[in-house]
Symmetry: C2
C-alpha cells in the first residue's frame, strides 16, 4: 500500500471508532473506488463490513467490484439476502460470475434467487462456459446498434443502455439475427451529423473471438491489435458479449504467475502469497519436492553403480556437483527461452528443427567456452592429472550440448502434446539432465582413465 | 501466424510477383493493419519494402507502427530521407521514440532533420527521459480542454486535435499553467447540453504519475485502477503526456520475460527467440554458465575436504545429488513466490519477518514430510544402516528448512537494496544452497557416523 493510503487508512479507522459516519461516507465518495477498496481490505473483517454498510448503493457496488475475491465473499455472505441480491444486480456480469464461481453452489443459488430476473439469466448463462474460455470472462453488457439507425437514434440508444460503463467507447452494429455487422467508435458519433445513417460509416472489418476461445489466445489477440474491447460470438456467430482490456491484464498476469510457479515446481493457485496459510503453501510445494526427491533416487543409483570407479578416483566425486549444476543450468536456459517463445506465440511446432539446430550450435559454443575455462582451472588451480582434466572437460561439452538439445526439443514436444511446457521446463528436466550428466561423466571416465 | 494469414501471405506473394499492385493495395486497405504487418514481416526484406512502398501514406504509417522493431529499422533506412521524415511525422510520438532509441545517433539526427519541426521538438523532448521511465513511454498526443469551455467548444477542440487517435476517449482539463484540473470522458460529452460548462461536470479526482515513475510502477497503477490511459505530469506538476493501456500490456510482457530469463540465468534482451542468432544467444547464456561453474568449484572443495569421510562411507556419495536437488528446489520455490509477490506489489520490505516466519513453518513441514518418505525408502528399499538413514533424513529437514528461509530472506533483502531479486532467485541461490546442503550433510554425518 502506498504511503498516502496508509495515512487514509488511519483516518478511516479513526472516523469509524468515533462513529463519524457521515464524514466517512463523504470521504469515501471523494476517493477513487480502487483506493477505497485497498483501504478496506486492510481493515479487519468486522470494520470492513461496517464501513461497507455505510456506503450508498452505487458506491457500494463500485467498491465491491474492486475488492479481492475473499473479501467479496465475506461481505456478500454477511449481507441480508435482498442486499446481497441488489449488489449482484449492480455488478457487471463478468465480475458477478468471477465471484459466484468461487462460492458453494447452495450459496450461489440463494444469491441468484434474490437478484433480478435478467441478472439471473445473464449469470446462469455465463456460468455455463468452461473456465478460462472467452465465454467465462466476457461481460454481456455492451451497446448494440442497428445499421439503419441515425446518429441521433444511436445516441438515444446509448443513453438508454447506460453511460456509466466504460464499455461504450465502441458500439456494435448487429442485424436482426444478432450477427455482428460492424463497429462504431463512440468518438465518430461526435463528428457526424445527427441524421447520418450508422450503416454508412461503420467499420465493417470486425475481429471477434468465439465463446470457446482460450483466454490465453484472447490475450494474444488484444496484444496484436491493441484493442480496448473484443466482441465475443457464439457458435452461430451471434454476438453475445465483449471482453475488456482490464480483464485481459488480469489474465496475462495470472497466466504468467502460473508459468513461473510451474517452472519453480510449485502447484499454482491464485491467492496472494501473504494470504496463503503455511498449510496451504505446504500443499502447493511438497508434492513436487517429493516427486523430485524420489526421481533423484535414480541419480543416486547411477553413482552407486560406479562405486568402484569412485573408490579408485575419489577426486571424480568433487566434480559431480559442478557437472550437474552446469548441465541443469544449460538445459533450463534453453527450455525457458522456448517456453517463453511458445507462450508469446513466437515459436510453433513447425519450428522444431530450427530450434533444435539453433540449440545444437549454441550448446557446442557454450560447452566449448566452459570446457576451455575448466581446463585452465583444472591444470593451474586443481593440479589434477591431465586425464582427469580432459575427462571433466569432455563431459562439459557433451553435457551442455545434450542438455540444451534435449531440453528444447522436449519442451516443444510436450507443448505439442497439449501438456504444459512450463512444468517440464524446470522440475522434470532437472532429473533427466542430472542422470544424463552422470552417465556421460562416468562413461567418459571409464574410457579415459581405463577404470 | 494463423491459418487465415498464411493463406493471405500466399495471396500477397502472388500479387507481388504478378505485379498486380492496385489489387494488392486494395486488399491491404480492407484488412486490419496488425494483420498486414504480420504478413509483411513474413516476406523477405526486399518484398516487404516493395509492398510497403505501394501503400498510401496513412495506411503506410498505420502498418509501420505495428511492425517489429527490426523490420521498422530496415524500412526506414531504405526510404528516401523525405519519405522517412514523413513516416516519422505520422507516427505517435511514443512509437517514434521506441524506433529511434534503437538506432545509431547519426541516423536519428538525419531522420529528425527531415521531420516537421513540432515532431522534432516532441521527440527530442521524449528522448531525454530515462529508459523505462513513464516519460520514455508516454505519448504527447492528447486532447487538452479548458475548464471554462462549453461542451460545444470542447467538441470543436477534439475535432481540431484529431479524432483518429484512440487517445481521445478521455480528455484532460488544464489551467493556463497546464496544471491538470480534471478529466472528462468522451462519453459524457454526448450526454450534456452544448452550452454546459466543462468545469461544472468534469471529474476532479485525478490520478496521474510523474515522468520519472518507473514503468513497472505504471503497470501496477493501470492494474489497480483499470485505466485505459494515465496522465503523466512533470516535476512542476504540468501535464506533459499520457500512457495508454496497449503500451502497458507490452511493458508487462517485457518485464515478465526479463524476470523469467533472469531466473533461468539468461542475460535478458528483447529480441524474439528465432530472430536471435546463435552467437547472440551464446552471449546471453555463457556468462552466467561460466560464473555458476566457477562458483560450483566451491561445492567441489567441500566434497574434497570430506574425502576421508567419503572413502569410509562411499554410500554417502549416492545421496549427494538428491540432497542438492531437494535443497535447490525447496529454495527456488520460496524465492520464486517471493519474487512474484514483490513484483505484484503483494509483499513489501515491512513483511520481512512475516515472510521469514511463514517460510520457517512451511520449511519444517515440507522437510518433515520428505524426511519421513525418505526414511521409509532408506530402510525398505536401499537397505542402508539406520545411522546412514537418519543422517540423510536429518539432513533433509535441516536442508529444506534453511534453504527456504535463506532464499526468501535473501530475496527480500536484495530487492530492498534495489538489486534485481530475479537474479538471486535462482542462479546465485543454487550455489549458496548447494554449499550449505553439503556442509549440513557432512557435519551431521560426522556426528552420526563418528567419522
Amino acid at each position: 500500500m502506498e504511503e498516502k493510503n496508509v495515512r487514509e487508512l488511519q483516518e478511516f479507522k479513526k472516523l469509524l471508532n468515533e462513529k463519524k459516519y457521515a464524514a466517512l461516507r463523504g470521504k469515501a465518495q471523494d476517493m477513487n473506488e480502487a483506493d477505497v477498496a485497498e483501504i478496506m481490505s486492510n481493515l479487519d473483517d468486522v470494520d470492513m463490513l461496517r464501513m461497507f454498510r455505510l456506503f450508498p448503493k452505487e458506491l457500494a457496488a463500485d467498491v465491491f467490484s474492486m475488492l479481492e475475491n475473499d473479501d467479496q465473499q465475506y461481505i456478500i455472505t454477511q449481507l441480508s439476502e435482498s442486499e446481497a441480491g441488489s449488489i449482484i444486480d449492480m455488478l457487471q456480469s463478468d465480475d458477478a460470475v468471477d465471484l459466484l464461481e468461487e462460492m458453494p453452489a447452495n450459496v450461489v443459488k440463494r444469491l441468484l434467487a434474490n437478484a433480478r430476473e435478467d441478472t439471473r439469466a445473464d449469470i446462469n448463462h455465463l456460468l455455463k462456459y468452461e473456465e478460462d474460455s472467452a465465454g467465462s470472462i466476457m461481460t454481456v453488457e455492451f451497446v448494440d446498434l442497428k445499421a439503419e439507425m441515425t446518429v441521433m437514434d444511436a445516441i438515444d440508444r446509448i443513453r438508454a443502455v447506460g453511460l456509466e460503463s466504460e464499455t461504450v467507447n465502441t458500439c456494435y452494429v448487429l442485424n436482426p439475427k444478432r450477427l455482428l455487422l460492424g463497429t462504431v467508435a463512440l468518438r465518430y458519433l461526435l463528428l457526424r451529423q445527427p441524421d447520418e445513417i450508422i450503416g454508412d460509416f461503420m467499420n465493417e472489418e470486425v475481429i471477434s473471438c468465439n465463446t470457446g476461445t482460450d483466454q490465453e489466445k484472447v490475450a494474444q489477440i488484444f496484444k496484436k491489435y491493441d484493442f480496448e474491447a473484443l466482441p465475443v460470438v457464439d457458435n452461430e456467430n451471434r454476438m453475445v458479449g465483449i471482453i475488456t482490456v482490464d480483464d485481459v491484464m488480469d489474465i496475462m498476469e495470472a497466466e504468467m504467475t502460473e508459468d513461473i510457479e510451474r517452472m519453480a515446481a510449485i502447484i499454482p493457485n491464485d491467492k496472494p502469497y501473504l494470504k496463503t496459510g503455511p498449510i496451504e503453501t505446504w500443499k502447493k510445494r511438497f508434492p513436487w519436492l517429493l516427486l523430485l526427491m524420489v526421481s533423484a533416487t535414480f541419480t543416486g543409483k547411477i553413482i552407486t553403480s560406479f562405486e568402484s570407479a569412485l573408490n579408485q578416483y575419489i577426486i571424480l566425486a568433487a566434480y559431480i556437483p559442478m557437472l550437474m549444476d552446469t548441465g541443469g543450468n544449460a538445459g533450463s536456459q534453453a527450455s525457458t527461452e522456448v517456453v517463453r517463445g511458445l507462450s508469446l506465440d513466437q515459436i510453433h511446432f513447425e519450428d522444431f528443427f530450427k530450434v533444435a539446430w539453433k540449440e545444437m550450435r549454441v550448446g557446442l559454443m557454450c560447452g566449448a567456452t566452459l570446457a576451455f575455462a575448466n581446463l585452465v582451472k583444472c591444470v593451474y588451480l586443481d593440479h589434477v592429472s591431465m586425464a582427469v582434466a580432459l575427462t571433466v572437460c569432455m563431459t562439459i561439452i557433451m553435457d551442455v550440448f545434450i542438455s540444451k538439445l534435449v531440453s528444447s526439443m522436449l519442451t516443444i514436444l510436450v507443448d505439442h502434446a497439449n501438456l504444459d511446457p512450463a512444468v517440464v521446463a524446470s522440475p522434470l528436466l532437472t532429473t533427466i539432465i542430472d542422470a544424463s550428466s552422470l552417465m556421460i561423466y562416468f562413461s567418459i571416465a571409464k574410457v579415459m582413465l581405463g577404470i
